[in-house]
Symmetry: C2
């Protein structure tokens, strides 16, 4: 089975754990079979391969997520990187061109597209696999998965099937309705459209060629920024007449709010947290290294990261977006393929960061024009290169890097370094990368 | 008027803002006449001098509070430092010996003793001044202030006066009662004993000499650790028969819980805080440099410092003590006479600290046996001395201090320094101080 996982943009709905560089699918609030914390993207990959050990998984995503994917899934998945963000039609077009031209997937093979962030049981991926089988049988050009609704939601689009059979032709698609309209749809047997569908690679590639003028994957990649922002539903699904839907009746959540996350996260509290015995129905996630003491909290969700602290009534947490947008874009934590960085102090002309590097990884060789940097190694051993001079470093060693000096750090073991940046202007833009 | 302010021990009842080294009287949650934040000790001093510009104020306290007092009140007050903590009788005995032998206060002068942490209006200090007048008139050996009770509290001792006059002889003292007993006391016209009383210096000094064998202040200081732990109420007040009480009818709070603090703090929120429009009756204090977003919070108090985060229903906050005691003794912030330090990262073999120094101040000349230190100057200019070598330092300058090296930092302007400590054992005990 070929699966394209669409790994969507930055989200603030799970702030302060999600931010502009850490999407919610990378937050580790679930647990795997061995009891280790895992993220949504790790969980989804584990579930897919549990159902189909031979599945080939390609994640279609933007540049900013590549580090986190590599960090969490290593080389187990292919990554089709969009050079810039368009909408789902260009992203899927690029991914099918990638599968055909770079991975050699045959035109008769079935391809399933799924979002990367539903919280479901393995039976969901059994249904995804069945979509592939239906496509290979050639019953329809596109086979969708329809989720049996559990309440008249205003947040999802609806699929109206012809019949109530397990597999049915599609009668109609409906945009996100209001509650009373949703109730009527559900009475007619409507299903939620959760963005899961399958097709033959050849079918979609032909469709894409009819809509975009390009030769192959590399050509499409090169002109990607010229493509129109348009959703796959709008560009393809809603125009296709030969289309059917497979009913999925299992549990499903898109975990789009803290309220939903609280329902499914592995532990009610995570991190250094104390609840007194009068707390009830309260979830707490603490990524900071200081304790959170909760007393008399009822129906609350509390989350703390180095970006900020949320203290919310569970229901209110669904209305977080406008408030989080006021908070601005300061990102104080980022997961990278080579490790992570965390801002631990910010002043007007300095920034202090804790940098961790995994053994065998290194930073890019780079320089800054308008700031000095000082590294103090606090854990692990490695090598620094500063203006071409290599030096072995151990805990307690200090490396001073004046503005303009080229520098990198190579970790021979897992390392932790305190970096102090000092300068009149401190910005991520002030960075020039050099070949080593 | 001579006033001895008893500045009591460490408190955790306002955790995480109060801790073992920062008592609640030093937290700046009030505002002065100019709208600047001030602490309880600053507020009390301001109120005393508003009522009596010539008052001489002596703070009786332990060593750990001297830095904070000097930082917040400079040299405006005298400080009588107990060499170790005993109870209130030894502390007051030492303070009266100090007033007589070090400050030359006459035996006929009145001395008033007050706790440092009540939240009151200026009229309270008018009453304190009146205590002094009553003492000078010689009506009784000890004149107490009795607070008109507002509810049958189990937390305070009660004074039963002979009459309901403004000034009355005392009939009896009662220990902290249960609620129904307190109700009976109040029906009899009882007053709260808030630990405020006045006497002639000569009266008390004689009393002290009759109970402790010592010559003068320095002798008493030298043998202070041999003194019995005993309260002033038990040792003196409850045994004195010639005693009267002055009724105080104004507002009074000992601000002993977050619930009480929320009633009187200057601003409902302090620091980087956003409340959504469904929050109500909620107070938030944020000392961290990351935002706190509160949504749908009702009747809550939320406080964050580098020691931890409290999220509590207001009423529940009164029962915090056993939970805070579980959290251990890690102190990550301390206010010093020379500035402050804040732990910004703690790992198993390293500790990173932000140190601020006020212009004109310096650290003690000291060394550590089992850790190296690295200073990176991020703000201000000053001088370092490392093993006798003096060096001017500016932002971006780095000073490395190997284990065993003597070192100090002298601030010529306000300075901010990031200090990374690296070693197999990092403890406050590993410090040797040298003369410079």
């Amino acid at each position: 089975m070929n699966i394209i996982l669409l790994s969507g943009g930055s989200g603030k709905r799970l702030w302060p754990l999600s931010n502009d560089v850490r999407s919610k699918q990378f937050i580790k609030l679930f647990k795997d079979d061995k009891g280790e914390y895992e993220s949504m993207v790790q969980r989804v990959y584990r579930q897919i391969t549990a159902v189909d050990a031979d599945a080939t998984v390609t994640i279609a995503t933007g540049k900013s997520q590549v580090s986190a994917i590599r960090n969490q899934l290593n080389d187990k998945v292919a990554v089709c990187v969009e050079p810039c963000r368009r909408d789902t039609f260009p992203a899927i077009a690029l991914a099918v061109a990638y599968l055909h031209d770079e991975k050699g997937v045959g035109l008769q093979e079935a391809v399933a597209v799924c979002p990367v962030d539903p919280y479901v049981s393995n039976s969901y991926y059994e249904s995804v696999k069945k979509l592939g089988t239906l496509v290979e049988q050639g019953d329809a050009n596109i086979t969708l998965m329809g989720i049996e609704p559990t309440y008249p939601s205003e947040k999802y689009g609806y699929i109206i099937p012809m019949t109530s059979d397990s597999v049915s032709a599609v009668k109609e698609f409906k945009e996100k309705p209001d509650v009373s309209t949703a109730e009527r749809y559900i009475e007619q047997g409507a299903l939620w459209n959760a963005g899961v569908f399958a097709f033959k690679l050849g079918y979609l590639l032909e469709k894409v060629h009819s809509m975009i003028d390009f030769t192959d994957y590399r050509d499409l990649y090169a002109k990607y920024d010229t493509l129109e922002k348009i959703s796959f539903d709008y560009a393809v699904v809603e125009k296709e007449t030969d289309i059917q839907v497979l009913r999925y009746e299992g549990a499903w959540s898109d975990v789009g709010t803290w309220n939903m996350m609280a329902e499914v996260m592995a532990d009610a509290t995570q991190g250094n947290v104390i609840l007194d015995n009068t707390c009830s129905n309260t979830n707490v996630v603490n990524e900071l290294d200081i304790p959170i003491l909760c007393m008399g909290c009822k129906n609350m969700v509390i989350a703390a990261s180095c970006d900020g602290i949320l203290v919310s009534d569970k229901e209110s947490s669904s209305y977080m977006k406008p408030y989080v947008e006021k908070l601005g874009e300061d990102v104080r934590f980022a997961e990278k393929s080579w490790g992570s960085y965390t801002v631990i102090d910010a002043q007007s002309t300095s920034l202090t960061i804790k940098v961790t590097l995994h053994a065998g990884n290194q930073m890019k060789y780079h320089s800054h024009e308008r700031r000095d940097e000082v590294w103090t190694v606090v854990e692990g051993t490695g090598r620094t290169i500063v203006d071409g001079m290599e030096q072995v470093v151990r805990p307690g060693d200090v490396v001073t890097i004046a503005a303009g000096c080229k520098h990198t750090l190579i970790a021979d073991t897992d390392m932790s370094v305190i970096e102090v940046q000092v300068g009149s202007e401190i910005s991520q833009a002030d960075k020039t990368v050099f070949p080593l």
